[in-house]
C-alpha cells in the first residue's frame, strides 16, 4: 500500500514554477482591482472629509485658472449671531474662484465651501455657484452645484422642510427645502434667474459608468436673512 502511494507521488508531475508564480499574482491583481472599484465611494467620502477637516488649500491648475491659486485655507463664515444684524444689507461681490460662502445642512451632515464661478478644478474643492446666478443675499435665484461623488453625495436625501444655511462674510441666510427636483442637463428651467428669492441646489444622478445627463436637486425658499452690520 505504502509502496503504491510513493509510486503515485513519483508519477504525479509537480505544478510548473511559472504557474506557481503567476497564479498568486493574478489573484492579487483581481483583489486589487476589486478593492479599487469597491473603494471608489469610500475614497471619495474620505477625501471630502479630509479636505474639510484639514482645510485643504485650493489648488486650481487648469490653464485659465493658473493664477487663481489661492493659498488661503477654507474660510469658516459662521459668526456669533449675537452681534447686530438686519434684514437688509450690502453684499460683497466675489472674484472668480473665491470661496465666499459655506453651505451647511444638519439633516445630511453637509458642510461645504462655496466658490464663485464654475470650473472643474473648483468643483473638486467644493460647491460652485455659477456666475450667471445671483449673489447670495440679493433677490433672485442662487444656483449652487457640486459633485455627486463627493460633497453632494447625499443631496437626494434632503426632504421638504429641511433647513439649509448659507454663511458669508456679510451675513447668514437660512432656507427651507420646498421642492425636490429632477431635470435633464439641457433643461434650464431651474437655473434661470428669477424675480423671487430662492436657492437651487443640484447635482448629477448617481451613475456607475459615465456622467449622467439627469440632474437631481432641491429648490429652497428663504426663511431668514441676517446681514451683519
Amino acid at each position: 500500500m505504502s509502496k503504491n502511494n510513493s509510486e503515485e507521488g513519483q508519477n504525479c508531475r509537480p505544478t510548473p514554477k511559472p504557474v506557481l508564480i503567476i497564479t498568486p499574482v493574478l489573484i492579487f491583481l483581481i483583489c486589487t482591482a476589486l478593492t479599487a472599484v469597491i473603494g471608489i465611494v469610500p475614497y471619495n467620502k474620505m477625501t471630502t472629509y479630509l479636505k474639510i477637516a484639514f482645510s485643504d488649500k485650493l489648488k486650481s491648475t487648469s490653464v485659465a485658472a493658473d493664477n487663481i491659486s489661492a493659498d488661503s485655507p477654507i474660510i469658516n463664515f459662521d459668526k456669533d449671531r449675537s452681534e447686530n444684524v438686519s434684514k437688509e444689507g450690502e453684499v460683497v461681490y466675489p472674484k472668480f474662484g473665491e470661496q465666499y460662502a459655506t453651505l451647511s445642512c444638519d439633516t445630511i451632515k453637509l458642510y461645504v465651501p462655496v466658490y464663485w464661478g464654475s470650473d472643474d478644478k473648483l468643483l473638486e474643492n467644493g460647491a460652485c455657484q455659477h456666475s450667471s446666478s445671483v449673489v447670495i443675499g440679493k433677490t433672485g435665484n442662487v444656483v449652487i452645484d457640486a459633485h455627486v461623488n463627493t460633497f453632494f453625495a447625499d443631496l437626494d436625501k434632503l426632504k421638504e422642510g429641511d433647513l439649509v444655511v448659507l454663511n458669508t462674510s456679510y451675513g447668514e441666510f437660512k432656507y427651507k427645502v420646498t421642492k425636490q427636483i429632477t431635470f435633464a442637463k439641457t433643461d434650464k428651467t431651474y437655473v434661470l434667474p428669477s424675480d423671487t428669492d430662492k436657492l437651487t441646489l443640484y447635482t448629477c444622478v448617481k451613475q456607475v459608468l459615465g456622467s449622467s445627463d439627469q440632474r437631481i436637486g432641491v429648490v429652497c425658499e428663504p426663511v431668514d436673512k441676517a446681514f451683519y452690520n
Binding site: R13, L26, I30, A36, K95, S132, D145, K185, Q207, R215
Partner: protein, 261 residues
C-alpha cells in the same frame, strides 16, 4: 470639425451677448440700470444679463464708458447682422452686396457655394425655413426682418455663416472686450464643449465658462477606471482558469497513464 465650427459660432453668439448684455440700440446709458434695462429690451438671454449684472455691480464705469461700450457693441451687432444677411442672401439665392466678397451670380445650382463654401453646405433649418419668404422681400423689408429677429433665431443663423465672417465677428468681439479691460481667450475645444476665459487688464480671471453650458457636469466619470479594473479582473480570472484546466488535464493524463500501467 463641424461640431467645433458650430461651437465657435455658438461662442460668438453667446459670448457677444454675455459680455455685452449691453444693448444693441443707440441708447446712451448713464447708469448701470439703464444698461440692464436696455439689455433686457434687446432680448438678451436672462442668464447672460444676470452675469452682466454681477459684473457691472462689482465694477465701476463712468457714463461715458457705458456709452462707448454701447457704441462698440453696436458695431459688433452690425457685424453680426451683416453675417446673418449674407447667410440669408446665400440661402435665398440672392446677389450678395458685400464689400469683402465678389458678387455672386444667382442660380438654382447654388452659385453662392463658390464664394461662401461654408455657408450653403451648412444651412440650418431656421435658414431653410425663412429663405423663401426672405427672397421675396425688398431690401428695406429684409433689413427690418433681420432687426426683428429674436436672439435665438440670430444665434441659430450665426452658427452657419461663412467662416471668414465668423472670424471677423470673433475679432470684433475680442476688440470690444479689450476696449473695456476684458481679454477673452479660448482655453479648450473638444467635440462637445468650448471653454473660454475672460481676464481683466491685470491678468486676473473674471470668468471661465463653457459655451451654452449653464447646467454643470457634476459627476466624476469613472468609466475608464472601471473598465480597466474590469479588464484586469476578467483577464486574471481567465488566466487562473486556464492554469486550472491545464493542471486538471495534466493530472488526468497522469492518472490515465498510471491506470494503463
Amino acid at each position: 470639425m463641424k461640431k467645433i465650427r458650430n461651437l465657435l459660432l455658438t461662442f460668438i453668439a453667446v459670448s457677444s451677448l454675455s459680455l455685452n448684455f449691453i444693448n444693441t440700440t443707440s441708447v446712451k446709458a448713464a447708469t448701470k440700470e439703464d444698461v440692464i434695462a436696455a439689455a433686457k429690451s434687446a432680448g438678451i438671454p436672462e442668464t447672460d444679463i444676470q452675469n452682466g449684472i454681477n459684473f457691472l455691480e462689482s465694477s465701476s464705469y463712468t457714463p461715458e464708458q457705458y456709452d462707448k461700450m454701447i457704441d462698440k457693441i453696436n458695431e459688433l451687432a452690425v457685424k453680426k447682422d451683416e453675417g446673418i444677411k449674407d447667410a440669408l442672401d446665400n440661402a435665398s439665392g440672392a446677389v450678395i452686396p458685400s464689400q469683402t466678397q465678389p458678387a455672386v451670380t444667382t442660380g438654382e445650382t447654388g452659385a453662392a457655394q463658390q464664394t461662401q463654401p461654408g455657408a450653403a453646405g451648412n444651412q440650418s433649418s431656421v435658414i431653410s425655413g425663412i429663405a423663401d419668404k426672405y427672397s421675396s422681400m425688398t431690401p428695406e423689408e429684409k433689413k427690418d426682418y433681420i432687426a426683428g429677429m429674436t436672439a435665438a433665431e440670430k444665434n441659430e443663423i450665426i452658427k452657419s455663416i461663412d467662416k471668414d465672417k465668423q472670424l471677423e465677428i470673433i475679432n470684433s468681439f475680442i476688440d470690444v472686450g479689450s476696449e473695456f479691460g476684458m481679454n477673452i481667450a479660448v482655453d479648450g475645444i473638444t467635440d462637445n464643449t468650448l471653454t473660454y476665459s475672460v481676464r481683466d487688464n491685470d491678468g486676473q480671471i473674471v470668468d471661465i465658462s463653457s459655451v451654452g453650458v449653464i447646467v454643470g457636469d457634476t459627476g466624476i466619470d469613472y468609466t475608464v477606471f472601471i473598465l480597466i479594473a474590469a479588464t484586469v479582473i476578467v483577464m486574471s480570472s481567465a488566466g487562473i482558469a486556464a492554469f486550472a484546466v491545464m493542471q486538471r488535464k495534466a493530472f488526468g493524463t497522469q492518472s490515465d497513464n498510471r491506470r494503463d500501467n
